[in-house]
Symmetry: C2
Amino acid sequence: MDTTARHLLVELFACDARLLDDAPALQALLRAAAEAAGARVVAEVFHPFAPHGVTGVVVIEESHLSIHTWPELGYAAVDFYTCGEVRPERAIELLAAKLGAARVERLEVARGGPADHTLRVSERLSARSQGHS
Amino acid sequence: MDTTARHLLVELFACDARLLDDAPALQALLRAAAEAAGARVVAEVFHPFAPHGVTGVVVIEESHLSIHTWPELGYAAVDFYTCGEVRPERAIELLAAKLGAARVERLEVARGGPADHTLRVSERLSARSQGHS
Protein backbone atom coordinates (compact mmCIF):
# COMPACT_ATOMS: atom_id res chain seq x y z
CA MET A 1 0.00 0.00 0.00
CA ASP A 2 1.04 3.55 -0.67
CA THR A 3 0.95 5.94 2.27
CA THR A 4 1.46 9.03 0.14
CA ALA A 5 -1.14 11.65 0.93
CA ARG A 6 -1.84 15.34 0.46
CA HIS A 7 -2.72 17.51 3.44
CA LEU A 8 -4.30 20.86 2.64
CA LEU A 9 -4.49 23.47 5.41
CA VAL A 10 -6.88 26.25 4.46
CA GLU A 11 -7.81 29.57 6.06
CA LEU A 12 -11.12 31.12 5.00
CA PHE A 13 -11.54 34.80 5.94
CA ALA A 14 -14.53 37.18 5.76
CA CYS A 15 -17.08 34.38 5.43
CA ASP A 16 -20.85 34.46 5.92
CA ALA A 17 -21.06 34.65 9.73
CA ARG A 18 -24.54 33.17 9.93
CA LEU A 19 -23.56 30.06 7.99
CA LEU A 20 -20.42 29.58 10.12
CA ASP A 21 -22.67 29.19 13.18
CA ASP A 22 -25.16 26.77 11.57
CA ALA A 23 -23.95 23.25 12.42
CA PRO A 24 -26.53 21.34 10.29
CA ALA A 25 -25.83 23.55 7.26
CA LEU A 26 -22.07 23.14 7.72
CA GLN A 27 -22.48 19.37 8.00
CA ALA A 28 -24.38 19.26 4.70
CA LEU A 29 -21.81 21.56 3.11
CA LEU A 30 -18.78 19.53 4.23
CA ARG A 31 -20.43 16.32 3.02
CA ALA A 32 -21.10 17.97 -0.36
CA ALA A 33 -17.51 19.25 -0.46
CA ALA A 34 -16.10 15.79 0.27
CA GLU A 35 -18.28 14.29 -2.44
CA ALA A 36 -17.28 17.03 -4.90
CA ALA A 37 -13.68 15.96 -4.31
CA GLY A 38 -14.60 12.39 -5.20
CA ALA A 39 -14.34 11.09 -1.63
CA ARG A 40 -16.59 8.52 0.05
CA VAL A 41 -17.90 9.64 3.45
CA VAL A 42 -17.87 6.94 6.14
CA ALA A 43 -18.54 8.90 9.36
CA GLU A 44 -19.23 12.43 10.57
CA VAL A 45 -19.17 14.35 13.82
CA PHE A 46 -20.29 17.97 14.23
CA HIS A 47 -20.25 19.86 17.50
CA PRO A 48 -21.66 23.36 18.14
CA PHE A 49 -19.92 25.48 20.76
CA ALA A 50 -21.39 28.09 23.12
CA PRO A 51 -21.77 30.96 22.52
CA HIS A 52 -20.56 30.62 18.91
CA GLY A 53 -18.71 28.34 16.57
CA VAL A 54 -18.81 24.84 15.18
CA THR A 55 -16.27 22.05 14.89
CA GLY A 56 -17.00 19.42 12.29
CA VAL A 57 -15.13 16.43 10.93
CA VAL A 58 -16.07 14.24 8.00
CA VAL A 59 -14.20 10.93 7.91
CA ILE A 60 -13.54 9.67 4.40
CA GLU A 61 -11.77 6.52 3.20
CA GLU A 62 -8.43 6.79 5.07
CA SER A 63 -8.71 10.56 5.22
CA HIS A 64 -10.60 13.44 6.81
CA LEU A 65 -12.01 16.90 6.19
CA SER A 66 -12.35 19.17 9.23
CA ILE A 67 -13.64 22.67 9.93
CA HIS A 68 -13.41 24.94 12.96
CA THR A 69 -15.40 28.18 12.79
CA TRP A 70 -15.35 31.56 14.56
CA PRO A 71 -18.61 33.12 13.26
CA GLU A 72 -18.12 36.40 15.12
CA LEU A 73 -14.90 36.91 13.15
CA GLY A 74 -16.07 35.42 9.85
CA TYR A 75 -13.20 32.95 10.02
CA ALA A 76 -12.98 29.22 9.36
CA ALA A 77 -9.96 26.91 9.65
CA VAL A 78 -10.16 23.88 7.36
CA ASP A 79 -7.93 20.88 6.82
CA PHE A 80 -8.31 18.10 4.26
CA TYR A 81 -6.08 15.03 4.40
CA THR A 82 -6.50 12.96 1.24
CA CYS A 83 -5.14 9.77 -0.29
CA GLY A 84 -5.44 8.37 -3.79
CA GLU A 85 -7.51 9.93 -6.53
CA VAL A 86 -9.39 12.43 -4.40
CA ARG A 87 -9.26 16.03 -5.68
CA PRO A 88 -9.26 18.14 -2.50
CA GLU A 89 -9.07 21.43 -4.47
CA ARG A 90 -12.65 20.86 -5.58
CA ALA A 91 -13.81 20.60 -1.96
CA ILE A 92 -11.95 23.78 -1.01
CA GLU A 93 -13.37 25.71 -3.98
CA LEU A 94 -16.90 24.65 -3.03
CA LEU A 95 -16.41 25.52 0.65
CA ALA A 96 -14.90 28.92 -0.14
CA ALA A 97 -17.69 29.76 -2.58
CA LYS A 98 -20.59 28.59 -0.41
CA LEU A 99 -19.19 30.26 2.72
CA GLY A 100 -18.59 33.48 0.74
CA ALA A 101 -14.94 33.68 1.76
CA ALA A 102 -13.38 36.93 0.55
CA ARG A 103 -9.86 35.65 1.15
CA VAL A 104 -8.45 32.13 1.01
CA GLU A 105 -5.00 31.10 2.21
CA ARG A 106 -3.91 27.55 1.43
CA LEU A 107 -0.88 25.46 2.32
CA GLU A 108 -0.33 21.96 0.99
CA VAL A 109 1.94 19.56 2.86
CA ALA A 110 3.07 16.19 1.49
CA ARG A 111 2.36 13.33 3.91
CA GLY A 112 3.52 9.71 4.07
CA GLY A 113 5.55 8.18 1.28
CA PRO A 114 9.36 7.95 1.30
CA ALA A 115 11.41 9.64 4.03
CA ASP A 116 12.67 12.44 1.79
CA HIS A 117 9.13 13.23 0.70
CA THR A 118 7.07 13.59 3.83
CA LEU A 119 6.11 16.90 5.47
CA ARG A 120 7.47 19.01 2.62
CA VAL A 121 5.44 22.11 1.85
CA SER A 122 4.45 21.41 -1.73
CA GLU A 123 2.28 24.44 -2.46
CA ARG A 124 1.24 27.79 -0.98
CA LEU A 125 -1.62 29.79 -2.45
CA SER A 126 -3.32 33.05 -1.54
CA ALA A 127 -6.49 34.21 -3.27
CA ARG A 128 -9.04 37.00 -2.95
CA SER A 129 -12.52 36.82 -4.38
CA GLN A 130 -13.64 39.41 -6.87
CA GLY A 131 -16.16 41.87 -5.53
CA HIS A 132 -14.96 41.62 -1.96
CA SER A 133 -12.63 43.95 -0.10
CA MET B 1 -11.82 36.02 20.43
CA ASP B 2 -8.40 34.94 19.33
CA THR B 3 -8.23 32.59 16.35
CA THR B 4 -4.54 31.85 16.80
CA ALA B 5 -3.93 28.11 16.80
CA ARG B 6 -1.11 25.60 16.44
CA HIS B 7 -1.42 22.77 13.93
CA LEU B 8 0.99 19.87 14.40
CA LEU B 9 1.38 17.39 11.54
CA VAL B 10 3.15 14.26 12.75
CA GLU B 11 4.47 11.15 10.98
CA LEU B 12 5.03 8.06 13.15
CA PHE B 13 7.15 5.35 11.52
CA ALA B 14 7.96 1.77 12.55
CA CYS B 15 5.14 1.56 15.08
CA ASP B 16 3.58 -1.50 16.74
CA ALA B 17 1.56 -2.94 13.82
CA ARG B 18 -0.92 -4.79 16.02
CA LEU B 19 -1.84 -1.66 17.95
CA LEU B 20 -2.27 0.36 14.73
CA ASP B 21 -5.05 -2.05 13.71
CA ASP B 22 -6.86 -2.05 17.07
CA ALA B 23 -9.57 0.63 16.82
CA PRO B 24 -10.77 0.43 20.47
CA ALA B 25 -7.18 0.61 21.77
CA LEU B 26 -6.41 3.56 19.48
CA GLN B 27 -9.55 5.33 20.63
CA ALA B 28 -8.51 4.96 24.28
CA LEU B 29 -4.98 6.07 23.41
CA LEU B 30 -6.05 9.19 21.50
CA ARG B 31 -8.41 10.15 24.31
CA ALA B 32 -5.54 9.73 26.81
CA ALA B 33 -3.24 11.75 24.54
CA ALA B 34 -5.76 14.59 24.25
CA GLU B 35 -6.18 14.64 28.03
CA ALA B 36 -2.40 14.56 28.54
CA ALA B 37 -2.26 17.72 26.44
CA GLY B 38 -4.81 19.36 28.73
CA ALA B 39 -7.64 19.23 26.20
CA ARG B 40 -11.29 18.51 26.90
CA VAL B 41 -12.80 15.83 24.66
CA VAL B 42 -16.31 16.60 23.35
CA ALA B 43 -16.82 13.97 20.62
CA GLU B 44 -15.06 11.02 18.98
CA VAL B 45 -15.37 8.98 15.81
CA PHE B 46 -13.26 5.90 15.01
CA HIS B 47 -13.59 3.85 11.85
CA PRO B 48 -11.79 0.55 11.07
CA PHE B 49 -11.02 -0.14 7.42
CA ALA B 50 -10.85 -3.47 5.58
CA PRO B 51 -8.49 -5.24 5.38
CA HIS B 52 -6.34 -3.02 7.63
CA GLY B 53 -6.13 0.40 9.16
CA VAL B 54 -8.05 2.77 11.36
CA THR B 55 -9.09 6.40 11.05
CA GLY B 56 -9.92 8.15 14.28
CA VAL B 57 -10.77 11.70 15.22
CA VAL B 58 -11.16 13.15 18.69
CA VAL B 59 -12.94 16.51 18.74
CA ILE B 60 -11.74 18.82 21.51
CA GLU B 61 -12.82 22.35 22.43
CA GLU B 62 -12.45 24.16 19.07
CA SER B 63 -9.79 21.73 17.94
CA HIS B 64 -9.15 18.12 16.86
CA LEU B 65 -6.70 15.25 17.06
CA SER B 66 -6.77 12.74 14.19
CA ILE B 67 -4.97 9.54 13.28
CA HIS B 68 -4.83 7.47 10.09
CA THR B 69 -2.99 4.15 10.33
CA TRP B 70 -1.38 1.70 7.90
CA PRO B 71 -0.64 -1.28 10.21
CA GLU B 72 0.99 -3.36 7.48
CA LEU B 73 3.59 -0.61 7.09
CA GLY B 74 3.85 0.36 10.77
CA TYR B 75 2.91 3.91 9.81
CA ALA B 76 0.54 6.43 11.34
CA ALA B 77 -0.29 9.96 10.18
CA VAL B 78 -1.41 12.26 13.00
CA ASP B 79 -2.58 15.85 13.13
CA PHE B 80 -3.41 17.94 16.16
CA TYR B 81 -5.02 21.36 15.77
CA THR B 82 -5.02 23.21 19.09
CA CYS B 83 -6.09 26.55 20.52
CA GLY B 84 -5.36 28.19 23.84
CA GLU B 85 -3.42 26.57 26.62
CA VAL B 86 -3.36 23.03 25.23
CA ARG B 87 0.12 21.45 25.06
CA PRO B 88 -0.02 19.27 21.93
CA GLU B 89 3.60 18.10 22.36
CA ARG B 90 2.51 16.08 25.36
CA ALA B 91 -0.07 14.24 23.27
CA ILE B 92 2.47 13.53 20.53
CA GLU B 93 5.03 12.24 23.03
CA LEU B 94 2.47 9.89 24.55
CA LEU B 95 1.29 8.63 21.15
CA ALA B 96 4.83 8.04 19.89
CA ALA B 97 5.81 6.19 23.07
CA LYS B 98 2.70 4.01 23.33
CA LEU B 99 2.75 3.15 19.61
CA GLY B 100 6.48 2.34 19.84
CA ALA B 101 7.36 4.69 16.97
CA ALA B 102 11.05 4.37 16.05
CA ARG B 103 11.02 7.60 14.06
CA VAL B 104 8.92 10.73 14.49
CA GLU B 105 8.73 13.59 11.99
CA ARG B 106 6.86 16.69 13.08
CA LEU B 107 5.88 19.93 11.37
CA GLU B 108 4.14 22.76 13.16
CA VAL B 109 2.10 25.29 11.20
CA ALA B 110 0.71 28.51 12.67
CA ARG B 111 -3.03 28.89 12.06
CA GLY B 112 -5.45 31.80 12.40
CA GLY B 113 -4.36 35.08 13.93
CA PRO B 114 -3.20 38.09 11.90
CA ALA B 115 -2.71 37.84 8.14
CA ASP B 116 1.09 37.86 8.32
CA HIS B 117 1.05 35.04 10.87
CA THR B 118 -1.14 32.32 9.44
CA LEU B 119 0.15 29.19 7.69
CA ARG B 120 3.79 29.86 8.52
CA VAL B 121 5.84 26.78 9.28
CA SER B 122 6.89 27.53 12.84
CA GLU B 123 8.83 24.36 13.65
CA ARG B 124 10.20 21.20 12.03
CA LEU B 125 11.51 18.31 14.13
CA SER B 126 12.87 14.86 13.37
CA ALA B 127 13.57 12.31 16.10
CA ARG B 128 14.59 8.68 16.38
CA SER B 129 13.99 6.58 19.45
CA GLN B 130 16.92 4.98 21.22
CA GLY B 131 17.14 1.25 20.77
CA HIS B 132 15.42 1.23 17.41
CA SER B 133 16.94 1.08 13.97
